[in-house]
């Protein structure tokens, strides 16, 4: 899976009146990503490979083409990124980190492959769960990304996401994690990377997601946060991540998923946002970009498509706003 941007570019101006999602183009685009080894960018983005696989696979599932990537090759690659300590790196030889470990668990869940993983790795889930649990800071409840200690609510969310998918939430102190998230809340209802940090839509997604998994949405100032999130929509229909910043397709996910968890998706104009996301497609070579006319990449492709799924774009699989995975998958893993 390549994280290389392009070769396509998003449509510029004059889109047809009828807004169309180019499903087949996007499928082919994602399938083509691992064939671009003759581009320097392919090698420069190796540190995102396992994330990229999760993004591409999720996009394909939402597009209704779950088998478009070779399942066995994915599992082989995934296992080649596993370290003895139960953590995953971005690619073989890359150090273990929370970010890739979460992607690995999401891929295993999406492929319904936990059984096969256990066959390949004895007590695989327990090992992965332990890697994650060991990264919790017992004093504050937050999580580090790896042994080097960077802390961020992104890692806390990732931990609860992956552990809940494996049914191993009891390995960590969820109440303490919840307390930490709550301490990151700001007067505007939003959340930052750590206590005192400015509200940011990406961080709002991780914090609201973590609280939803923990069953503590009651702690969220839902009116204020809903209002703040709704103000992310700009005149052109796109969403930004913070006040007075530019729109970007990936915020279609971070903002909308949070609004969906709060039951406030109707507080923005879905039709205009749909149009904006669709304008970011490359109608010829597939893929989505951050804005119309820019280079496409698989990151914006999945978050644009997941956004369209939340907007009930016809023909797409339902996405789970808490996990950014197909709802059918999370239902299977969580039993609810």
């Amino acid at each position: 899976m390549s994280l290389v941007s392009g070769p396509g570019r998003a449509g510029v101006g004059n889109m047809p009146a009828e807004m169309q999602l180019f499903v087949d183009k996007h499928v082919r685009y994602i399938q083509s990503l691992d064939t671009r080894k003759d581009e320097l960018e392919y090698w420069l983005t190796e540190h995102l490979r396992l994330n990229g696989l999760y993004w591409g696979l999720t996009a394909l599932h939402l597009l209704g083409h779950p088998d478009a990537l070779p399942r066995n090759e994915i599992l082989d690659f995934l296992c080649s990124c596993l370290h003895d300590n139960g953590g995953f790196g971005a690619a073989p030889g890359h150090d273990a980190h929370m970010l890739y470990t979460v992607s690995a668990v999401q891929i295993l869940a999406t492929l319904d492959a936990f059984g096969e993983f256990e066959e390949r790795v004895k007590d695989g889930r327990q090992k992965v769960g332990k890697f994650i649990a060991d990264l919790q800071d017992s004093e504050t409840g937050t999580f580090a990304g790896d042994e080097w200690g960077e802390r961020d609510t992104r890692f806390l969310y990732g931990a609860l996401n992956a552990l809940s998918l494996m049914g191993l939430l009891d390995l960590v102190d969820v109440a303490k994690a919840v307390q930490h998230v709550h301490s990151c809340a700001n007067f505007d209802g939003g959340y930052g990377t750590s206590p005192g940090a400015e509200s940011h839509s990406g961080q709002v997604f991780t914090c609201v997601g973590a609280l939803t998994i923990a069953g503590r949405l009651d702690l969220v100032d839902q009116e204020r946060l809903g209002a703040w999130l709704s103000e992310r929509q700009l005149k052109n229909g796109g969403l930004n991540g913070r006040p007075e910043k530019q729109e970007d397709v990936c915020y279609s996910w971070w903002v909308m998923s949070s609004m969906a968890m709060l039951g406030k998706l109707h507080w923005i104009d879905g039709e205009k946002l749909t149009q904006f996301i669709l304008q970011c497609q490359d109608p010829e070579l597939g893929g989505l970009a951050d804005r119309p006319g820019d280079m496409v990449d698989v990151f914006h492709t999945v978050f644009g498509i997941a956004g369209l799924s939340l907007l009930k774009y016809p023909g797409l699989e339902e996405v789970d706003p808490i996990y950014c995975m197909p709802r059918s998958v999370t239902r299977r893993c969580l039993g609810k």
Partner: protein
């Protein structure tokens, strides 16, 4: 992480044979360097020479997080073996991360390395040297925020740096000791940033975080606190008058209003002993001021949103004076629906919630 804001232009996607060959050579060179570093590290060759290779590779790809980890492994070994002075190593890394941050200001791993370095320096070089180093970091953050005043990483790092300086400067563990506090100078910094650009919500946000602290540290009495609130309201009202279409400003106004509300958590109060009568007076004054702006800006939705928010707050503490009428609120809501169709669903919910 991904390509943000990179325009493809209208050029051809097909590369010439020459360009293709050149790219092949670049790929080979990059892969060779990367393999070499990984091999040396696997062999635990934690030497100055390997550190140089790591530096070269990070210049080519600062997002390659494993290489930053390798770098730390080498640095720790070099310091332990005392082959190189810690200070020299530290200066080299500060220089490297500075150059890279200027080029890649949003790369998490570089900021992270900087933080790690300074923490290490503190344990190796002692508190006095660390104090000086952290003070130097403030200069770095100033430069980064000068280049991009909303840089999320820079603001976050700034808060870390400030808390370190304060902790190291504090001669006692007594939390009441505020001699080393930077709250006031940080507050002044937000004033400076706001005056340069009213739209800088990152600065407004940081200001809101500092206010309760500086009031505590000043031992501000009831009168001083009221004067402080008045001065903040003066500042924000002037900002509203300058650009009523800027949402950063309105969010800060909302923040100030939230500190007046009876439901404000006690550690967030600006004035601690407000009576409901005083609250009403504040809300009335704000409404009056905003209505004045309305006369020139009938199509600014933020004005109606502000008025409705104030009216709602007013009604919570109202003892039946009837200064806010349902008729007014209905009219403001109608304007919101007219001017802000994107959020129509929100205004409909608000209508129900306020029973208008």
């Amino acid at each position: 992480m991904a390509s943000h804001g990179i325009s493809r232009g209208s050029g051809s996607v097909v590369r010439s044979e020459e360009a293709r060959q050149k790219e092949q050579q670049q790929i080979e060179a990059y892969k060779d360097l990367s393999d070499l570093v990984n091999t040396k590290i696997a062999e635990k060759q934690y030497t100055v020479e390997v550190l140089g290779l790591v530096t070269k590779l990070l210049h080519e790809n600062p997002e390659y997080y494993t290489i930053w980890n390798h770098r730390r492994r080498v640095l720790v070994a070099l310091v332990t073996e005392e082959t190189q002075s810690p200070d020299e190593l530290l200066q080299g890394d500060l220089q490297l991360t500075f150059v890279l941050l200027r080029k890649f200001p949003k790369c998490y791993w570089i900021w992270n390395q900087r933080d790690w370095l300074l923490q290490k320096a503190e344990s190796l070089l002692g508190a006095d040297a660390a104090q000086e180093l952290w003070a130097g970091e403030l200069q770095l953050v100033n430069k980064m925020l000068h280049a991009d005043s909303r840089n999320f990483h820079a603001w976050g790092y700034r808060r870390i740096v400030v808390s370190k300086i304060e902790r190291l400067g504090s001669s006692t563990t007594d939390s009441a000791d505020t001699s080393s506090s930077l709250a006031q100078s940080e507050f002044d910094y937000t004033t400076k940033m706001i005056k340069t650009n009213l739209s800088n919500f990152s600065a407004w946000h940081n200001r809101s975080q500092l206010i309760p602290r500086i009031l505590r540290e000043r031992n501000a009495d009831a009168e001083a606190r009221r004067a402080f609130l008045a001065s903040e309201l003066g500042l924000i009202c002037e900002a509203i008058n300058t650009d009523p279409f800027d949402q950063s400003i309105w969010f800060y106004h909302q923040y100030l209003m939230s500190t007046i509300s009876p439901s404000c958590p006690p550690n967030g109060f600006v004035v601690e002993d407000l009576t409901n009568g005083e609250r009403q007076k504040y809300y009335e004054n704000e409404m009056e001021y905003i209505k004045e702006i309305l006369e020139d800006e009938r199509d600014c939705k933020w004005i109606y949103e502000g008025l409705l928010g104030l009216a709602e707050a007013y009604l919570e503490v109202d003892a039946g004076t009837g200064a806010v009428t349902t008729k007014d609120m209905r009219a403001w809501l109608a304007e919101l629906k007219r001017l802000d169709a994107l959020r129509r669903g929100r205004w409909e919910d608000l209508e129900k919630r306020l029973q208008l």
